[in-house]
Subunit: 527 residues, 2 copies
């Protein structure tokens, strides 16, 4: 049952009179539940409980943290049909997507459980002492990753499960040993509350300290601002717009004690179509890209918003086919009237720029909040001179750039802002010959795809989801996959520490059997 209240530790609370509702974009009506924004006192209490919980949660074994994470997955699964219904009511996304995203979220939780139960993620490193070293004895030093403290997670609009309440940021932070306070996304606070109830139930069942998790409602910016400025908060995870992410980054950087903000923000995911790709497979790629651009109504952070080719018959054919294929796909619902409004506004702004040619736009009438997909094309020179054309249009929209030659292609790539992904279409031999194009692309992105589409973010250790700014605020970390746990941990050294008082990860006999670096050799053996 959705109460509209905040979860402050194990308890529910609604002391503020500021309320809001979520919206069903498919039906174009408000949802029935009334959500209470978190008050200043509730925020303070959530942070106080989280800081207190940290004192014990940080030292709970990996095996017990794994029990907690697995219990969250089980409790979330147990919410069954009503959770899926709420998800669909608050996002306009179809059942298949709801089920798929729930599956991914459960998989993420269980993967982190496995990771911390095993324990090698702590990067334990041991250098034993040498008492008779000259001129001075060598101390015994042992290092491992330890958690940072209370983490604030901002739910994303486009992943109500996988990058919100119990999503990747929350799962990785809890796995690292950090209590989490979620700032619920105002577009799906009902989904958020249900998932929060699963986390709280899991925490109680597995005996976690109260405050290890809280869930705060908010429709404006105040709650988020207060959280990021709170001295008790030690790190922030965010998925959303450049404007929102940068605002949080700036707040965090201005604190007396600056804290890391891991914001995954905008990306237009450039696709470089080398001549061979369009010569041999223009129709194939046009169909693939029509599907990729339309996936999730274009509301994926890896949606391809930019396709870069070299002027000529092949590119013309590709562009025209892309237009035909994409307008043949039935439009779908966007997440919220605000997102739909922004899509239309930005689409008009970008396609209204001088020297822009609209290739195709879905022109038939659509239901309210449904997106009308569009493809435009410009010359390389025009793109280079007009930064408005570089803007992310969140939704099913893509720009095809016609370059004069490979040199201009490289210049266009070099002038792009940082991106999550970059794709190259072309034969192996052509990639080899175009080393400078590939290098320029690599320099601007976090993941490079060959002969594929950027949508579809595989959750596995080799996935890098993050890239040079503004794709993310810190390209040295990923938001997807097991390595995302490193965002919430710091290395810590024990020098000449009594063996019995060391954490298990660093004890001589390696009771956890983890992989460690001992005197510069990787080994699972004890000392």
């Amino acid at each position: 049952m959705i109460t509209g209240k905040n979860y402050i530790g194990y308890g529910q609370s609604s002391t503020s009179d500021i309320t809001y509702k979520t919206f069903n974009p498919e039906l174009n009506t408000e949802n029935p539940w009334v959500f209470h924004e978190a008050s200043a006192e509730e925020i303070d209490e959530a942070v106080r409980l989280a800081s207190r919980a940290f004192e014990s949660y940080r030292d709970i074994s990996g095996k017990r943290k794994a029990e907690f994470l697995n219990a969250i997955a089980d409790e979330m699964e147990a919410l069954g049909e009503p959770l899926l219904e709420t998800y669909m009511q608050e996002s306009g996304l179809p059942r298949g997507r709801a089920e798929g995203e729930r599956g991914r979220t459960l998989f993420q939780l269980r993967t982190f459980a496995e990771l911390v139960a095993e324990g090698s993620w702590t990067e334990a490193t041991i250098d034993t002492g040498i008492l008779d070293r000259k001129p001075a004895p060598k101390p015994d030093l042992r290092k491992m990753l330890i958690p940072l403290g209370a983490v604030v997670v901002f739910g994303s609009s486009n992943f109500p499960f996988a990058y919100s309440t119990a999503g990747g940021d929350t799962a990785s932070a809890l796995a690292a040993g950090c209590p989490v306070i979620v700032k619920s996304h105002p577009m799906h606070s009902g989904t958020g509350e249900l998932v929060a109830s699963a986390i709280v139930k899991a925490a109680e069942k597995t005996g976690m300290p109260e405050g290890v998790f809280s869930n705060l409602n908010s429709s404006g910016v105040e709650v988020g601002t207060k959280l990021v400025q709170h001295p008790g908060v030690k790190a922030v995870g965010f998925t959303g717009s450049i404007k929102g992410g940068r605002a949080l980054f700036d707040l965090a950087a201005k604190r007396e004690e600056p804290i890391p903000v891991f914001a995954e923000m905008g990306s237009i995911n450039p696709v470089v179509a080398l001549p061979s790709a369009l010569k041999e497979k223009a129709g194939f790629w046009a169909e693939q890209y029509a599907g990729s651009i339309m996936l999730g109504t274009g509301q994926f952070c890896t949606s391809p918003g930019l396709i870069i080719g070299i002027k000529g018959a092949e590119l013309r054919e590709f562009t025209q086919t892309l237009g035909e294929k994409i307008t043949a796909i039935a439009p779908t619902c966007m997440l919220h009237p605000n997102i739909h409004g922004a899509f239309n506004r930005l689409k008009e702004e970008v396609s209204g720029q001088p020297e822009v040619c609209v290739v195709a736009e879905y022109e038939k009438t659509v239901k309210t909040n449904y997106a009308q997909q569009e493809i435009i094309t410009v010359e390389g020179k025009t793109f280079l001179e007009n930064n408005t054309l570089h803007k992310e249009v969140f939704g099913p929209f893509s720009v095809v750039i016609q370059c004069e030659d490979k040199e201009e292609m490289t210049t266009v790539i070099k002038n792009l802002e940082g991106q999550l992904t970059g794709t190259i279409l072309g034969e192996e031999e052509e990639l080899r010959e175009n080393g400078s194009v590939v290098e320029a692309l690599q320099n601007r992105v976090g993941r490079m795809i060959c002969n594929g589409v950027p949508t579809g973010v595989e959750v596995c250790p080799s996935m890098q989801h993050g890239g040079p700014y503004p794709a993310s605020t810190d390209s040295r970390f990923t938001a997807v996959g097991i390595h995302s746990i490193k965002r919430w941990a710091r290395p810590f050294s024990y020098q000449d520490w009594p063996g019995n008082l060391l954490p298990d990860e660093l004890k001589n006999d390696n009771p956890l059997g983890i992989l460690r670096m001992v005197n510069r050799e990787k080994t699972t053996a004890g000392l």
Copy 2:
């Protein structure tokens, strides 16, 4: 020969009329050389060359980078006696220290050479594709660390070799594949120029691209400010004061494209003396700490500036003996009149606070620029109420805090700012009984030492040099040891990339023989 010019790539240049000299604090006279500050044009040219060098340097093999790093060490060693003389003339530090620090610097360079020649530092991770996976094929993903781009390194005042021109920041950035521009420290620009000449010679000999290294002189803040704001610069390393580090951090955070600043700043390195330690070994620890506080004239970032004990006869005895031992040590020269002046000013400010008792001060006349060591003591309550007492007094100075009981001790620790190190003196059993004291300390520091002194930073993989702000701006990284290379690299994924075009680190047959994670198992085997 010292020319006073900047190294811009392979060439030397001095277009600015702004000049300065370094100072010999031991003789209290200016040194003869005239240094030209880098002009705006020289800065631009250094960054342009570095950005161009990055395009090829990033792809040079680990083995060749190792040749370059080893050649730097060899060329630096070949500078011989004149380099040591210049170091002493510009720092007032004794010959033993000059030799020891040179040894450490050469060791660091050669250690990074070994690291990148071996290659496993790139954290190569491979997840092979599954074409027939349902509902969608699993792509082939391969991830490794790649360099960020041009790095600016600010030389530190207190380590003219080990944390300046060819010091830890430079060595780790060059090892990662990042060109380096050093902003030379104005107190030892002659030492810096000589070491820079060794780096440039090594770069030419081993065929590195011009611009892989530049060395810029500057006595004010302008050159550093321009460098940190320059769009071509992608990361910053700094060792110095909180004020300086924070200013650079703020500049970098305000850029259109924010960049990481790794600043290792202030620390007073608290030492917690549990009752057993003082009961049994008060004399021993007093002698150890007198030596640690005096080491390098107290000009180490890990100098113990705070000793926390519990009121009583034992603490009184320890404090008194510490005072006696420390005043029995002959004063030594500080790095520069400015540092000596700041030491005296801060020492006076802190010891002049209400309810402060001066335990011991070296009162005999000393040579100009020599530091007069001092020990003061205050009650826990006084310390908690007065933040001036928390200030780092850079030099041989330490505060002994007398707490009422262990509770107040914990409160004092919890109220400390972030620190590089924390030390606990006490028997194993007592440490176990005082878990909350230990945990409070762990929460505030990057390295915890048992029954030792914090000075003496061992260069090894298990060393964590860095801690919660303001000890450093990002506690998730270390400034010392092989893992410091991670500051300058970001993970990068290749999806479905042609095997022949993958970097060697990610090729099926593992030609480098490095340790990789392949389908979630660590192995050196090929695929």
